[in-house]
Every structure is written in C-alpha cells, then in structure tokens.
Amino acid sequence: MIAAHWLGLAVAVPFAGALLIALAGRWPNLRDGVSLATAVALFGAVLMALRGLLAGEPMTLALVELFPGLALALHTEPLSILFASLASGLWIVTAVYAIGYMRGLGEKHQTRFYCCFAVSLGAAIGVAFSANLLTLFVFYELLTFATYPLVAHKESDEARSGARTYLAVLLASSILFLLPAIAWTYALAGTLDFRLGGILPRGVEPLSAVLLLALFVLGTAKAAVMPVHRWLPAAMVAPTPVSALLHAVAVVKAGVFAIVKVVLYVFGTEMLGRFPAERLLVWLAGFTIVAASLVALRQQNLKRMLAYSTVGQLSYVVLATLVLTPFAEIGAALHIVAHAFGKITLFFAAGAIYVASKKTELGELGGIGRRMPITMLAFAIGALSMIGVPPTAGFASKWYIIAGAFQLDDYFVLAVITLSTGLNAAYFLPVVFRAFFREEERPPAKAHGEAPWPMVAALATTALLTLLFFFYNGPVVEPRGRPRGTRRMSGQEHWLARPRTIRWLWRIFGLLLAAALLAQWFDPRAWSFRSRRAVRLPCPLRLPRLRGDGAVREADRARAQASRRLLRPRCLRSSCRPPSS
C-alpha cells in the first residue's frame, strides 16, 4: 500500500461507515459504536496520510477521469492535512457528544442523523484532499446536500424553513458564482489543478482577476462573507452536534478552506499582490467582521448569537488570507484551528445547557454556572478564545494575523481587529457574568445538574484543547518541525532552565493539579457556590447513568452530610454581616 492510498481510504471510510450505520440502525448501541469507530478509523487514516506526507512521499491519487484532462483526484499538502485532521479529530469528540445529546433528548430518526453525519464528514474530507477545483466543487456540493437532512432533522415547520434557506443560499451561490468561476479559471489557465504559486497565467488582466476572485469568495457561501451569510443563522435549527461540528468546523471551514486554497494555489499570493482592487474584498471581509459582531450584540438566542459570531470569525480567516503576507497566511491556518476548538466548545456548551435545562435564550441563563460549573467554565474558555485573550487558542491566531497586517502596514485590518475585539468582549462577557454571578430568575421546573457525562467529557476535552493550543501551536506554525540549532540561549542556561526541564516541570505541575483534584474525592460540597443545593459533578471513576439526573445514592448523601458538618464551621458569606445598630 503506497502512502497516497491512505487518502482514498480516508475519503472512503466515512461513506462506508454511513452504510454500516444504516445497516446497524436497529440496534442503537451498535449503531453509535459504529459511528464512533468510523470517526476513529477516519482519524487514523488521516494520520497515516500525514505520516506519508512528512516522509516526503508523493501524495496524489487520481480517481476518475471525467473529461480529458479533468479528473477527480486527491492530493494533500500541509494545509489540507491540517483541515482533514481537525475535522476528523473533532468528529471523534462530537460522536461522543452526539450520543449524549441525541439520547438525552430522545430524538427521533437517529440512524438517519448519524448516517448523514458520516456522509457530511466524508464530503468535508473530500474537500480537504481535492487535488483540483473540479473535485473540490463536487465534494463541496455533496457536503451541501448531505447536511440538508441534518438541518431539517426536527421536521418542524421552522426546521424545514431554515433548511430551505440553507439550501437555497448555498446552492444558488455555488451555481451562480462558483461554477462560472471554475469554468472561467479553466478557460484562462487550461487546468484546474492546485499548484503552489498559482495556475493563472501571468498576463491576466487585473480587472478580470479581481472579478474572478470575487466570484470565488461569494461563490463559496459556506465561508459566510456578508451578503451570502444568511444560511448560517438559519441553519441553527439543526441539533447542536450538527451546529457544533458542521457549522463551526466542517462545513464553514470547508468554505474558508476553499478560499484559502484558491488564493494560494490558483491565484498565488504574489500575483494577487499586484492588484490593488483586491483591497475591495479585504474591505468586504472587514465589514463582515464588524457588522456580524454588531448583529450578535443584539441577539437573544444563544445559538443564534454564536452563529453570528461564527460569521465574524470566518471572515477573520478570509481577511487574513487576503492580506497575502506570510505571517497572515500562518494566521489564517491557525485561526481555522483556533476557531474550531473555541467555537465547538461554545456550541457543545449551548447544547449541554439545552439538554440539561431546556434553556435557549440568553436571558434565562442566570445562575446556570452554579448548576453546570464545568460546562460554563468551558464556555468561558471558548468565549475568551473568541475574544483572543491569552491563554487561549484565539490569541495565537490573532497574533499572526496582526503580524501579517504589519508586514504590509495595513491599518484597516488593525482597526478592524481592535474594534472587533471590543465588540466580541461586549457580547460574550455578559453571558459569562450572568451564568456565574447572577441568581436564577426562578428555580427550574426540574432540578438539574450537569448534562449527561458524554457531553461534559466532550466539551471539557475541547476546552482543554483550546487552552493547550495556546502553548503547542508549533506544528501548525512550522509543519516540518523546528530546524535544529536555531535556539539561542545555549551557553548560559542552567540545566533547570532547559526547555526539557521546563516541560517536565509543567507535567509535574499538571500532575499536582490532578492530584489536588483527586484529593477532593470529587466532593461536590467542596465546590459549593454558596448555593443551597450542591452542584453535582460527573465523576470519571464511577460513570453516572446516561439518562436523567438520577438520585444521589445513599452513601453519597451520607458522606455529603458528614462533610457539610465538618467543613462548614461558620458562615462565609460577605453579605452575612452583623446588624448595624
């Protein structure tokens, strides 16, 4: 088996998985297991492809020749392997999450759901690995169609209407703009293959080149640049796992990925840099960022707010790509990853809130952080990543985008980023405040704690990834690894100051933290937020049941009472003051 076959396998695995899921539909446990196994297998295949790429083997695989000179072909390079491993890796997490979500809500048609999910992922991997524009277009359209049943999953009027908007905008834009753009490219260049440095001939007129680029940007409506963004909020009627993986990672990233590919491999940064009119598209992306943030500021529905935030954040990638400097391209790649980790965490949290408490509106979230501390902590981390504050992933990507803007001294981009940071903070921070520092408006109909543990595990994982990506973003920045001998600080460093030592110290630090956590015996009372009712935490050692809240067991109750007697010597409230005379 040569390395390039892994590409074909990676694309084939999800489709085969979809088939198996359909066959196993009668046995829910088996079906969910197949879904999870498919995700793991896909990730493995992508990793093998990555290994082949790092080994320097040729990574091109022709599938079918449709027309003379135009074949469906797969290919990989660092950017596509990044996107593919991101989508497939997060699919594993989402598969776990989806089990909790779908069972927690008792959704119908789960087999159809998992089946379409797998097909969508297959299409996304196909987009990632396409070797030319034609293959990209085919998988891009397939992705659109495969996601439609997922958006309309609830089969209510609302879901149908949202799905119709979804389909109408995506299809219309791709047929009206993307297809002509591809045909035009073929007419100009005589080929549709992706080549580093671009395929368009040198002599292309500036006007037509910029028009072509505009067709590409508007044609890939999945990137949700402002006139063609309406499908994204409309698609929020979908179940949350779909919003999380597809409308924060796979589908929307397929859009921005296509734009990045077109800019880097069809036009080439050097060529586009010669056209001043390209600035128009930079302005469009900048406008989208600011306008989407302004709209998000007024949203009352949590998922809808997240959707508009996604619109803005996607335009960051488009903006960074169109700045056309090396740092900005790194920033675009980093932002694809950083936004994926952050936004999937946010959506997971939104879904967990919905499953546990059936709340969807921002105004209802008062005090929810006391009932669901892990979920809301993860939400806060995701929100910080959206704002771009250390120590979260969003910081690193914004860092490179700003650095890229400085390579051109592009003050427009700087102004947009400054403004957007303030606006992002303005619409995310109130949610965090409300969750932790407000009281509940009224006690919920049914007392609840955290959502089912698969969901909590999934969102905790992605939140940790968001934090870790701040420290370990090296593989994205320098895919080939750091060249040896480039480190300064060789002579003077003490053995304790060596990076290896530091890494070990970090590990010890983490272990100590974990030990301290374990030392709490997961006693919820120790975490009590002064609330009368204790917060129930999921215990990894003794997994709670999947459905329902369950009763606290007798032993737990006895222990909790004992610890309350021991550990509450006096009132700790700041409001519990001696009466003033």
Binding site: E158, P390, P391, V477, L505, L567, S580
Partner: protein, 698 residues
C-alpha cells in the same frame, strides 16, 4: 541550596488554583502560604535572563531578574499577603482565587523578559481583575465589570498591535527604552497609559473599583496601575510627554476626588492622582526620578491598600459607602480610625510616613532638573492630596458630625492586615533606618532624600494647608451629586450612538427589502399577465361554443358584470366596455384572493377564484379532462398534489390566518424564537395592506 528558576508567578497561579479546589478547611492555609512562597521564589531570581522558552516563533524570556523588577514583585507579593489576610474570612473563594491569579499576573509582568511575555501576563491581569470586580455581585458591578473588561481588552489589543509592529519592523521584542518615533511605539505607549489610567481614558478606574466587594477594592487598588508604571519605567523613561500626562492626572485626580461623595470613589480618584506623580517621575527620566517613581509605587501600594482596607472595613460593618451617610465612627471603631489616619497621613506625604520618603524623591528630581513649573505644580498638588485624601476621607468617614452609627470594630483578620500595613508605612517613613532601602535595593543606587532638604521643600508646603480650617473649604462639602466624567462617552454616548445606528440600519434594510419585494412583485405580475397560467399566451380564446363555457370564468370576480358582457359578446363586435381589459389584466377585479399562480402543473383556469374560495386548485390532468374549469371542477378529488413544492405552497396558502384574526403578539418588535418564519410567496407583497405590522411575517 540549588537555585529555583520556576517563574515566581507560577507559584501564585498554582496557589490560586489550589484555593479554588481545596476543601474550605484548608483554604486559609493555602491562601496564606501562597504569597509567602512566592515571595521566597521572587528573591531566588538572580539578575539577567533566567528562563526562556520557544513561543510563537520567538525565544521568549519568561523570567528576567533585576533590582527594579524584584522591587515591584516584592511589593506585589506583600500586597497579596496583606490582601489574603484582609479577605480570608470575608471574601468568597472565587474572589480570593481570582485575586491571587490577578496578583500572579502582576508578578509575571514584573519579571517579563520581553514584550510578548509581558503582554500575556498583562491580559491575565485584565481577566482576573474583571472577575474581582464582578464578585461585587450587584447589577452595578456587572455593568462596571463589563465596561472595565472591554476597556482593558481593547487597551490590550492596542498594546498588542504596538508590540507586533515593533516585532515586525525591528525584529526584536526585547524590553528596552523606546522613543516615540513610530506608530508602533505610540501604540505601545497608548496601551500602557490605558492601564495607568491616564485621562481621558481614566474613568474606568473610579467606575469599576468602588463596585467591587469590601475586600475586592483592596486588591484592585494595587496591581493594574502599578504594573503600568513599571512598564513605563522600563520602556519610556525620560519621555517628555509623560510629564504633562502625569501632571494632568495629578490635578484631574484631585479635582474629582474633591467633588466626590462615595468614600471609595474618593480613594479611586486619588489612585489616579498618585499614579500621576509616578508617571511624572518617569517623564522626568533621571535616575533619581525613576527611583522616585519606583519607590513611590512601592509606598503607594502600602498606604493605598491601607486606606482601601479601612474603607472596606467600614463598608463591611456598616454597609454604607457614601460620605454623607457616614461620620462619627471613631467612637466604636477606634482601631480602624487609627489605621485610616496613618494611611491618610502617608498619602499626604506627612513626615515620618512612607509617602514622605518617596514623593520627595520625585519632587526633588524635578527641582534638580530645573523644571520650575513642574516642581511648583507637584508641590501644589501635594497640598491638594492632603485636602482630599488626607483630610476629606478620614474626616467625613470617621469624625465630623455623628451619623448615629455604632458599628462594631472590624473583624480580627481585617485588623491584622491593617496593622501590618500601617506598621510598614511607619517603618518606611523612619528615614534614619532607611527601611525602604533594606526592603528592596533600588536600581542604580538609591539616593535617599536627606531630611533637611525635603522638609524644607515638600513637607512645608503639604502641611501648610493642613490647618483645621480646610474642611470648611466649600468644595469639600458632602453633597449628593454625581460627577460627570469622560466615561459618559462610552456609558451613554456610545450606547445611544449604537441604538441610533441600529435604527438607521434597520430602516435602511426595511426600505431596501420593501423596494426589492415590490419590484419583484411588479415584474412577476407583468410576466404573468402575458405568460402566466391565465395570461394572454395561455388563454383559450372564445369561439362561439366556448363562449358559453367561459362564462364561469369571471363569475366570482366580485360581480363584475362588465367582464361577463365583454367575454360573452359575439366575435367581431366592439367591446361594450372599452377601457376595461379582461379580468386577468385587472387584478383588483379578483378581490383579495391570492395572487400566486404556478405555471406548469397548475393549468387550472379558474384557479384564482378557487383559491379565493379556499378550494384546492385543479391539477393539470383533471383540468384537461374536464375541459376548462366549470362546475365539474368542484367535484375534483381533493388528493394532495404530487408536486411537493406545489403542495407546500398550497398548504401554506390554506394556513394563512384570516384577516380578522389578531396577531398573537401585536406589540412585539422582534420574533420570539429568533428564527425566520416561512416567508409568504413572492406574490404576498400584494396583500401588504392586510399584513400584520409586527415582524411576525403574517
């Protein structure tokens, strides 16, 4: 003993995490040990770059030692210790934990070897100080906290932009003295000045700090502004602009503190005022002035924390914060009163207190540089400080007229923290032993002020207005007023501006959408008049026999006899009603029935009328079978039409509420669920007169 090069900030972060997760019984122990261990770690860091690691493509210097950095880190750790003592029993665990993390950020900034590390810890501070503000728990705290966070995050990104510009343009992110000659350095200065609370963006400080809890204010008063001073000393020593900025801050702080009524807002404004002295010292830029700024930051943290502690203690036991509601507390709170007075004397640079030692350094440095006007203004300002913080605060809170309050003395742990800081203030003030020098050796050798020279300059001036007549100054009356600050710009003007913009944008969008829909509708009607199912091109035209069958066609059209006559006329005869075209060209003749007609599968000539009557349209096959409409059509099998799209449109037409039915939410401006509803078909625009005025799309 081997050298430990773990960043001292990590000790503090570790402690903060532990405070959050350990059992309540262990919390006090952890919280008290954390600052002490950190202090130990701080004193283990030797000069020079001690720790570097690769990050963001740079070899960032995580820890760089130095006398100045050690001085600041020491006072931050000391402050954390005092803060923990003060808030141990009173604060919630999350406030304590966030406050320790906030202190960790400040210590991290003090040891940052380059700008990247400095920025990371800078943002760390912004985050956790926001949590401290929010811990106030009130609605006012929420709003103030969000404003505070946005201000600092935007200030942070300005700083980030400056740092990155420097990185890209010069290739270096080392911390070194910069000159204000490029966009990048200006941005860095601006970012630093946001945290230093320089006007006109200083209003975040008196906005947010007083909204925190009684204990939170103590923490907040110490770190953010002082790290900014440290960064200014490191990056912009001797920048002339800073002299003027500093002077402005000094007088701004005095003026607003004099006008203020809330006791902690008075203290908050006096932070701006005191930081103004330090910024001025940085602007003067000689070694003595920089030493003065650093020393003043050191002593300022001590006495300002002491003042905030006494104010916090009063707030804790009385629950009141306005000067006009307080007074006469010295009877039952003698200890707190004494500590408050020590703090007030220190901030007024009274001899034998800590403020005297450090402030004179700055004032003397101005004199040594022959900056006469600056010297004069600083000395005059010292007198002003005496007025607002030295007299106004203790006088109105602890003395003056009796408010009738008889609260108990502050709790023991609060008193412990206060006595620690009061003792430090007095110890440092004892010039003969030069305690400040022993606590923290200053860079470049310290030239402590000699008592005679400073006494002659500063203290004489600052004690001269301190006569008992000062409280009679009309500006110092206790009044229930609100002072307008620059934060009006973003608290009120920005919100109003946003609302205006939103209204404009919505109107524009509404107008554009309406115009577009109208244009589409007109185009559609025009096309349909000739190409539609009943258009000229699709219409059967009457021969003699057909004319009888066609009679049914316009019958339902609101009793339009004219159309009947026209259609039933023999071929070749003139039109009996000239000027009135066939019913298809006059949509108004059809009344209120739905306009939309599908060509293709729907070739039912009487379709509009059937729809108007709420009947199903006749499918193509049936229509052909039964000829052109007529009575037979009424018996058509009402099975759903095979075309799903057509069925959907048809069903929706049936679902439409009757005109008389009230909208369920007639007064709402917004769709409740936030999702777009099914839109009416293109032809729906024609019935806009019947449409609900709300946005529910009915």
């Amino acid at each position: 003993m081997f050298e430990i090069v773990l960043p001292p900030a990590f000790f503090m972060i570790f402690g903060a995490v532990l405070v959050a997760i350990v059992r309540p019984a262990l919390r006090p122990l952890v919280a008290i040990l954390t600052p002490l261990l950190t202090l130990y770690a701080i004193w283990q860091v030797e000069d020079g770059v001690r720790l570097a690691m690769p990050f963001l493509g740079h070899e960032v210097q995580l820890v760089e030692g130095g006398p100045l950095r050690r001085l600041f880190a020491t006072i931050f750790a000391l402050m954390a210790f005092g803060g923990v003592l003060f808030s141990l029993r009173q604060a919630s665990w999350w406030e304590l934990s966030a406050a320790l993390a906030y202190a960790a950020g400040a210590i991290g900034v003090s040891f940052a070897g380059d700008l990247i590390v400095m920025f990371v810890f800078w943002e760390f501070m912004a985050l956790f100080s926001t949590v401290v503000v929010w811990s106030g728990g009130t609605e006012a705290a929420r709003r103030a906290g969000i404003r505070y966070a946005i201000m600092h995050l935007v200030g942070g990104i300005v700083l980030k932009i400056g740092i990155e510009g420097l990185m890209v343009h010069t290739g270096s992110v080392e911390i070194r003295a910069l000159t204000l000659d490029s966009f990048d350095t200006w941005m860095i200065l601006l970012g630093l000045l946001v945290n230093a609370a320089a006007p006109p963006i200083s209003a975040w400080l008196p906005d947010a700090y007083p909204e925190s809890t009684a204990t939170g204010g103590v923490w907040l008063s110490a770190f953010t502004t002082k790290t900014a001073v440290l960064a200014l000393i490191l990056l912009f020593p001797g920048t002339e602009l800073l002299i003027y900025v500093g002077l402005w801050m000094v007088f701004y702080g005095i003026l607003y503190a004099l006008l203020e009524n809330d006791m902690r807002r008075i203290l908050a404004y006096s932070i701006v005022n005191q930081v103004g002295f330090m910024v001025c010292g940085v602007g003067i830029g000689t070694q003595a002035a920089l030493n003065g700024a650093a020393a003043h930051a050191f002593t300022h943290i001590l006495y300002k924390a002491l003042l905030f502690m006494s104010a916090g203690a009063v707030l804790h036991v009385t629950g009141r914060r306005k000067c006009s509601e307080l007074g006469g507390l010295f009877r039952t709170m003698p200890f707190t009163t004494a500590c408050g007075v020590v703090g007030a004397l220190s901030i007024s640079a009274f001899p034998l207190t800590s403020g005297f030692v450090s402030k004179s350094l700055i004032v003397d440095a101005a004199a040594d540089q022959h900056l006469g006007a600056v010297w004069f203004l600083l000395v005059a300002a010292s007198a002003g400080v005496f007025l607002h913080a030295g007299i106004k605060f203790p006088w109105f809170v602890f003395f003056q007229k009796d408010s009738g309050l008889r609260p108990p003395e502050a709790p023991v742990d609060m008193r412990l923290a206060m006595i620690l800081f009061a003792a430090l203030c007095l110890l440092i003030g004892d010039l003969s032993r030069s305690w400040l020098y022993r606590l923290a050796p200053l860079p470049g050798g310290l030239s402590l002020p000699t008592p005679p020279s400073t006494c002659s300059r500063s203290s004489s001036c600052c004690s001269s207005p301190g006569s008992p007549s000062s409280p009679c100054c009309p500006w110092m009356r206790r009044t229930l007023t609100i002072t307008l600050d620059t934060d009006w710009l973003w608290r009120v003007a920005a919100v109003r501006g946003y609302r205006l913009l939103e209204r404009l944008a919505n109107r524009l969008r509404g107008a554009a959408e309406g115009a577009a829909a109208e244009a589409v509708r007109r185009l559609y009607a025009r096309l349909m008049s000739s190409h539609g199912a009943e258009g000229v091109l699709a219409r059967t035209w009457p021969t003699g026999q057909h004319a009888a069958l066609e009679r049914r066609l316009p019958a339902g059209a609101g009793g339009d006899r004219g159309a009947d006559e026209r259609l039933l006329r023999p071929l070749g005869e003139p039109d009996p009603l000239p000027g009135r075209g066939p019913v298809h060209d006059r949509p108004e003749a059809l009344g209120e029935g739905p306009r939309e007609t599908l060509a293709g599968p729907f070739l039912a000539v009487d379709q509009p009328h059937r729809r108007a009557l709420g009947q199903r349209p006749v499918p193509l096959g049936k229509a052909l079978l039964i000829g052109v409409g007529g009575e037979a059509a009424d018996g058509v099998d009402p099975r759903p039409h095979p075309n799903p799209l057509a069925e959907d449109r048809h069903d929706r037409a049936r679902r439409r509420p009757a005109a008389g039915r009230a909208c369920p939410r007639p007064d709402s401006r917004r769709r409740s669920d936030g999702y777009p509803r099914a839109r009416a078909g293109v032809g729906g625009g024609a019935r806009s007169g019947r449409r609900c005025t709300c946005h529910c799309r009915r």
